[in-house]
């Protein structure tokens, strides 16, 4: 006889006992292993026929197995019985601190991007991504910005050393998400509802400007898109993001790649539109927008006689700073955990 066989039998019996759901089942197991014709009992019966040396070792382990199984059945029965419980004995100090799992923090920009994405996805926009390092053509040229436009100056926009495309010009760190407009039009025929959220770069740094920041850009191109659709979409966003009571307004503005062009304002969060030092006469500026310039459509391979569109580009940090009353954009990017762990 093999000792490991006895071991296995014991293990098998105990695991069956531990999984038993009722007294009846326990009783069945008891009979199966320890009953008159039970497996252990059968083994016990073989002991007398063993040699003296085997008797000691094997006999011992069979007896051990029997005891262990009996004990297991007893313990299991006990724990299954309803006991009389002394509740006072079981007193817990429920006011002592709990043992918490570790909880970290998502960056405010991430949370805001998720929120913005959800808002626009509900009305049929799809989030896209386009290069952050882009050729001049996509960032400026195709967007109707003339060769000598100030935005192209070395003190406004960051350029990469030496990189240059024969046709598309120098490589720039995109100063706006609008560079995604042409890329989108090149790969997606109308109807288009694009949401492009990406890092942008400009050559400036102070409390309200970081050299790297995020913008979210919408682009809609379809057969009958007009100014009222731009208004409707941006109103919808402002209500969803800032709350129903917020009002928006559009003011005339100027961008090379839209005509007409607008700036979008939302009523001030601090004063509710009465006018205060934070806002301009009750309004806070959200960002720029406009009807896509016919030349831009043409550069994207879309016939401006058939299609029209609108686009908007807002700063992610700007909207979140407005929402949370943050006064220094640089806090978001300098990795100070005392700040980041607040959110």
């Amino acid at each position: 006889m093999d000792i490991s066989k006895i071991q296995n039998l014991k293990n098998q019996a105990i695991s069956a006992v531990l999984e038993a759901q009722s007294d009846d089942e326990l009783e069945r197991l008891r009979i199966a292993y320890l009953g008159r014709k039970g497996e252990i009992t059968q083994l016990l019966k073989t002991i007398p026929s063993l040699s003296a040396s085997e008797k000691k070792e094997i006999g011992q382990s069979i007896n051990d197995a029997k005891k262990a199984i009996e004990q297991a059945i007893k313990d299991t029965k006990k724990s299954q019985q309803t006991q009389k419980i002394d509740f006072d004995q079981e007193w817990l100090d429920v006011t002592a601190p709990g043992k918490r799992p570790a909880v970290g923090h998502l960056h405010l920009v991430t949370e805001t991007i998720e929120e913005i994405t959800d808002i626009f996805e509900k009305i049929g926009f799809t989030r896209k991504t386009y290069p952050e390092v882009e050729w001049d053509w996509y960032s400026f040229g195709a967007l109707n910005m003339p060769e000598n436009h100030p935005a192209r100056d070395d003190w406004e926009t960051l350029y990469l050393d030496k990189l240059k495309h024969q046709k598309y010009g120098r490589a720039v760190l995109t100063p706006h998400t609008s560079s995604g407009q042409i890329r989108e039009m090149e790969q997606q025929k109308p109807p288009i509802r694009m949401l492009n959220i990406a890092k942008c770069y400009r050559r400036q740094a102070d409390v309200s400007h970081a050299p790297m920041f995020y913008q979210f850009e919408t682009l809609v191109v379809d057969k009958d898109i007009n100014i009222t659709h731009l208004k409707g979409t941006l109103d919808y966003f402002a209500r969803q993001y800032f709350g129903k009571d917020r009002k928006t307004r559009i003011r005339p503005f100027h961008f090379q790649f839209t005509e007409p062009s607008f700036e979008i304002d939302v009523t001030c969060i601090v004063c509710g539109g009465q006018g205060c030092p934070v806002c301009k006469d009750g309004w806070l500026e959200l960002g720029g927008a406009g009807m896509v310039h016919p030349l831009v459509l043409k550069h994207g391979g879309i016939d401006p006689e058939k299609y029209s569109g609108f686009a908007s580009g807002f700063g992610v940090e700007r909207v979140l700073m407005m929402k949370y009353g943050l006064d220094d954009i640089r806090l978001l990017f300098n990795g100070d955990l005392r700040f980041l762990n607040q959110f």
Binding site: S4, Q12, G104, L106, V133, A171, Q204, D224
Partner: protein, 674 residues
Amino acid sequence: MNILIPDSWLREHLISKATPKQVSHYLTLCSQTVEKINQVKNDSVYDIEVTTNRPDCLSVYGLARELNAILSQNKIKATLKPLVENQKEIPQIKKSLPLKVKITQPSLCPRFTAIIFDQIKIKPSPKVVQDRLEKAGVRALNNVVDISNYLMLELGQPMHTFDYDKIKGAKMILRETKKGEKITTLDKITRTLPQGAIIIEDGEGRIVDLCGIMGGANSEVDSQTKRVLLFVQTYDPMKIRRTCQALAFRTEAAARFEKGVDPGGVMPAMKKAITMFEKNCGAKVASHLIDLYPNPKKEKTVTLTQRKLNHLVGLEIKLVEAGKILENLGFKIKTDNNQLKAMVPHWRHEDISLPEDLIEEIARIYGYHHLPSHLPQGEIPEQKKAPRFEWESQVKQSLKDWGFTEVMTYSMVSLSQLEKSFLDPNDNLKISNPLTKDWAYLRSSLIPSLLTVLVTNHQEKIMIFELAHVYLYQSLKELPEELPMLTGMVNGQQFYQLKGIVEAILTMMGIDKYQFEPYQLKQTFYGKIFHPSRSAEIMVKNESLGVVGEIGPHLTAKFGLKGRVTAFDLDFRELVKNASKKKQYEPLSKYPAQVEDLALIVPPQTLIGEMMTVMKKISPLIVSLELFDSFQKTRTFRITYQNPRKTLTDKEVGKIRKRIIKRVKTKFDAKLKQ
């Protein structure tokens, strides 16, 4: 650019009962934004931001013209008074004082006008002039200089006055500079000029004017001045801008010239200037008018159809009404049936050329606030969201739940950050015009940035991660590869903790076939960053997904970090490529499992991961194998055996167990603990 406009000055040109509040409200909604109204004495002063395409609005008269159209549209009566000086005849004189002018290139100065006055008496300006200038934020100096500032504000035309007697040889040559020429300007600062600045030299070769920016001190009008030469010009905007930028110096006049000044506005300004010189300085015209305008702007007509107007605005504005709006803005209109022809006024020449440009004019005066709001009606495009975004949210959320704080750091790093990380600057893309040396290279790894975050924070326990692009050089003719990386970092020796995190991420993303291999590639860039014997490479289908391990102590020392640092650096694009959301249903086994613990004694430096792989491969009936305990040389494994189709017999389990023991003995020299 912002300008300050006193309400009283505006009312000299605009008759209306509109209150300052109404003026501000409607101007903002329909034209230029009034940022605030300042009360100065008994006057309201508007602080107005003027957009770059509307230099014509950088003036009292330009804004009065806008308001005339806007207020009328909003049912507030308004009348724009014509400039009476436009009717003025320039006095003809018999004997003109001489002035010889030579312009080397006409493009430098598209329109050049000049006139000389005699019998000037220098004294303070009339009260009203001083008062208006001050409210507009300009210091009043004397009657001559004030005229040029006054008219710049009123009509948007900068001008300059010289002491005629200080121009040697009554001769002027307008030309571009060669690099390094010098001028001492009116503010008594000597400036070394860049190449391509526009200047005027006199008969003795002295530079007397830095055109469009500031005059020379050597030809300045002073208290002794009797004869004044007045300049009213336009200049090449680009040249002015480049010069200002090179000098890091910009004046009010320059800010206007670089946006483009209307050549059509030169003569009205000249005529009004003559009137003011006569009135305020007792001056007499003492020369013929010089007016050099070789290439006058051609008149421009833009056509707009009713269909296009309705289509872009989203509601019907009748062409007749549209025409009226445009006429109020100074356009000349011809309307027939379904189209409108608009002749563009000279002050809008640069800005208006397409039907869309006219639509903007019509719609803004009509009032964007009068247009309804609708969500786009058309068909919703069917597009699939890139899987990357979903995985990004899920992984970020999990890391947060596991106690990590997400950081976002700049894509640009410094030379010192690269050097401290033993990264070759030549492998990183260089920015040709960085703002500061802290932001000079595009990073090729997130590790230097995260180490910097560790340096700047002093908490006892730090757990951070970032998911961001790194930028990898391809060739001089290609855009860099933008590769999303997921990098996590904690302080202390936390290899197994971070390895566990990586394993959990892999499992969550449905990647089950992976291996952690002792890190061998010492020559790669990772080899220089990570600890050579305390890091592992994560392999999936023979492709590397990244590394987890301790940062090399040589790096942490360079960054000035005291303890050890552990990190993972994962190629997120590869992760997403291998990820799967596929779940497979397997019927629950009806047959019991057998669980047993096996204690093995292993030689030092045995790779347990490898050993477990080998053990697991021995039989498909081993459904789970866990490292249960590790103590000194003993490794205890908990093994679960199960057959989905029947109850396993002891004999079958015993067989597998024997094979395990034999295999680990031959392959790893491990022995069963007795």
